[in-house]
């Protein structure tokens, strides 16, 4: 839970920094945007994996060394989803260099967006059950994001051995729960309907993550 909160805080902070960097003299800096998006992505992956940990405490699972073949089509779908999301929601930003906003999108799928989207967001996400109509699409994407993110994470990350670092418990969390992500619902098809209850990540009550994702999208 601590890890989850911390990851959320980092995500919010990163979004704020991304927004703030646009206001700086000299315009958006590509290197800084890239670094912020890297942290953003790591925080999101951490958050998602911590959520799984929170929902499945203490259940040991065999480590899955070979890549899950379902993940590859999912990754492709996740990438396609990202492209679709970008295509749907992108609008020209006359105030910025054309390439720079796009650089932030794929790592975290959270590009800065015009303010008008944020007005839409406010009306829907703050109401408790009111975003039920939007939740299904978020769930599906979250599901694919999660799978894509987890395999990517597994390939990249080795849990740190020492307790030094921002998240000392991360090592243990990741070590236990990685394979958990891959094996959480072996029977579910890749494009499971949103109502699939077998996947612990598809929680309708996860409005905070939705808000965060939309907060990022709004910028």
């Amino acid at each position: 839970m601590e890890v989850q909160k911390e990851a959320q805080r980092i995500m919010t902070l990163s979004v704020w920094k991304m927004y703030h960097s646009r206001m700086q003299r000299g315009g958006l800096r590509l290197h800084r945007s890239l670094q912020l998006s890297l942290v953003m992505r790591s925080a999101r992956e951490l958050y998602l994996s911590a959520k799984v940990e929170a929902h499945e405490p203490g259940a040991p699972l065999p480590p899955a060394r070979s890549p899950d073949p379902r993940l590859h089509p999912r990754e492709a779908e996740a990438a396609a989803e990202a492209a679709l999301l970008d295509g749907e929601q992108s609008s020209p930003e006359p105030m910025d260099t054309q390439e720079a906003p796009r650089a932030e999108e794929p790592p975290a799928r959270c590009a800065p967006r015009p303010a008008k989207v944020s007005r839409k967001r406010r009306s829907s996400s703050l109401s408790d059950g009111g975003d039920a109509g939007l939740v299904p699409s978020k769930k599906a994407r979250l599901e694919e994001e999660e799978e894509g993110a987890s395999s990517e994470l597994r390939d990249r990350l080795q849990p740190p051995a020492q307790a030094e670092g921002a998240f000392p418990n991360l090592a243990r969390v990741l070590q236990r729960r990685f394979s958990g992500l891959l094996n959480c619902s072996p029977a579910a098809p890749p494009t499971a309907p949103p109502a699939c209850e077998a996947k612990p990540v598809c929680r309708p009550a996860d409005s905070m993550l939705n808000v965060l994702v939309r907060a990022v999208v709004a910028f």
Binding site: I10, L13, K17, R25, G26, G27, R29, L30, H31, R32, L34, Q35, L38, V39, S42, A43, L46, A82, A83, D86, P94, M95, D96, T97, E99, R102, A103, E105, P106, L157, Q158, P159, P160, A161, Q162, E164, G165, A166, F167, L170
Partner: protein, 432 residues
């Protein structure tokens, strides 16, 4: 661990953003955030005053860059001087390159100590005389005047960079130089301002696939066909311009495998290289990332020859340093003239020197209190936990707004220039 508002430290425009000695060490140039260049000149040593060992005094000050506005993108272009590089001296005048985010300029700095006097048609104030009053012929003669140092822009190299310029480097052929931004490196001829050759382009076809940017670049000190550039992923590429026109394929690729025990949430961003410098000999390159300085042998690509910890006690504070933006600070590093000592900056106005031969290192502080003229700098120590000894500073007491990003070392003597925010400190070896 908050960073106080920079304005509490005086005018923001005075913050020094680059420091560079010229090839003889006679001149020292600084650039600041306000677009100004200040050049210091070393006093001639006189036999009468042996104690004054050639101090540096202001020689010339000029406004190199002004703030500009890119109307097409509605973006302001900062006037901050990112880098200054001197050209080797070929006549009485001095030449240097200075760059901001978008434009490189070649400046000529020359002295004028004579003035023509006695014009035939003008009076002493320069006004034209009434022709009717002119009865004799006078030829002007040159008479001594107070020394005047003038800086004139000789070339302006503009409109070649879409992204922000981070480096410039003069080639050993003295005819060309390169400028590097986040994604591209361009090669220029000093005489030609309306064209440049693009020699490196790492921009992906789809910007969404961008994973790394160029962070620094430098020409080899002797081989005019060789240069290196560093990336945000902690890698260095050495390129040979003879191989092809576009050096997208490197000749050598330097990367150290990541130590899994050091892996943390912010590993990716602290591995970004902020500076790369060839040794004077041309046999080694030195790189600076957030926590370390590394020396690489050009003949060994798989790992650095030497790694020096600059401030490893910050490794457990990365989260706070991310919050206050300090984790994005770009520190530079320098070699001494004989390549035996390397120096880099840290926080709390500390800077560190590492002797490569004796493996000893020292931490010094650039502060007004410790820098009375001819006072000897006392080594500093950061206490990393446990009992703090007298004179030690605990990590939590470090002032993260006082950072030393830019330093320079005289090419042949033990004289160093250290920029601490808006103050420049010049330290020399003790005279016996």
């Amino acid at each position: 661990m908050n960073c106080p508002d920079e304005s509490t430290y005086g005018n923001k425009a005075d913050i020094i953003s680059t420091v560079e000695f010229n090839h003889t060490g006679e001149l020292l140039a600084t650039g600041d955030k306000g677009g100004r260049v200040v050049i210091f000149q070393r006093e001639q040593e006189s036999k009468n005053q042996v104690h004054r060992r050639g101090e540096y005094n202001v020689y010339s000050t000029f406004q190199s860059h002004e703030p500009e506005f890119d109307y097409l993108k509605s973006l302001e272009i900062e006037e901050k001087i990112n880098k200054i590089r001197w050209l080797p001296q070929q006549n009485a005048a001095y030449f240097l390159l200075s760059t901001n985010d978008k434009t490189v300029k070649l400046w000529k700095v020359s002295e004028r100590d004579k003035r023509p006097e006695g014009y035939n048609l003008k009076d002493e104030e320069g006004r034209l005389r009434d022709p009717a009053t002119i009865t004799t012929l006078r030829v002007p003669v040159l008479r001594p005047m107070d020394l005047m140092v003038e800086a004139t822009p000789r070339r302006v190299f503009a409109n070649a960079h879409t992204y922000h310029i981070n480096s410039i480097s003069v080639n050993s052929d003295y005819e060309t130089y390169m400028s590097a931004d986040d994604l591209r490196i361009n090669l220029w001829n000093f005489e030609i301002t309306n064209q440049s050759f693009n020699i490196v382009d790492i921009k992906p076809a789809n910007m969404e696939e961008l994973t790394e940017v160029i962070t620094a670049a430098e020409f080899h000190p002797h081989h005019c066909n060789t240069f290196v550039y560093s990336s945000s992923k902690g890698t260095i590429r050495l390129c040979d311009m003879r191989a092809s026109a576009l050096c997208d394929r490197h000749t050598k690729f330097f990367e150290e495998p990541e130590d899994p025990s050091n892996r943390s949430f912010f590993s990716e961003i602290i591995s970004s290289i902020s500076d790369v410098k060839f040794s004077h000999s041309g046999r080694y390159i030195m790189t600076r990332d957030y926590l370390t300085v590394k020396v690489w042998d050009l003949n060994m690509e798989n790992r650095p020859m030497e790694t020096y910890q600059v401030h490893d006690y910050l490794r457990s504070k990365l989260c706070s340093l991310y919050e206050n933006d300090c984790i994005f600070d770009k520190f530079e590093c320098v070699w001494n003239g004989s390549d035996s000592v390397i120096m880099t900056g840290s926080y709390n106005n500390f800077f560190r020197m590492f002797d490569r031969n004796t493996k000893r290192d020292v931490t010094l502080e650039a502060s007004r209190e410790n820098s009375k003229p001819r006072a000897i700098l006392k080594p500093r120590k950061v206490c990393v936990g446990g009992k703090r000894r007298k004179d030690e500073i605990s990590v939590d007491s470090l002032d993260f707004s006082k950072k030393i990003l830019h330093t320079a070392w005289h090419p042949s003597e033990n004289i160093i220039a250290v920029a601490a925010t808006n103050n420049l400190y010049i330290f020399q070896d003790k005279v016996n």
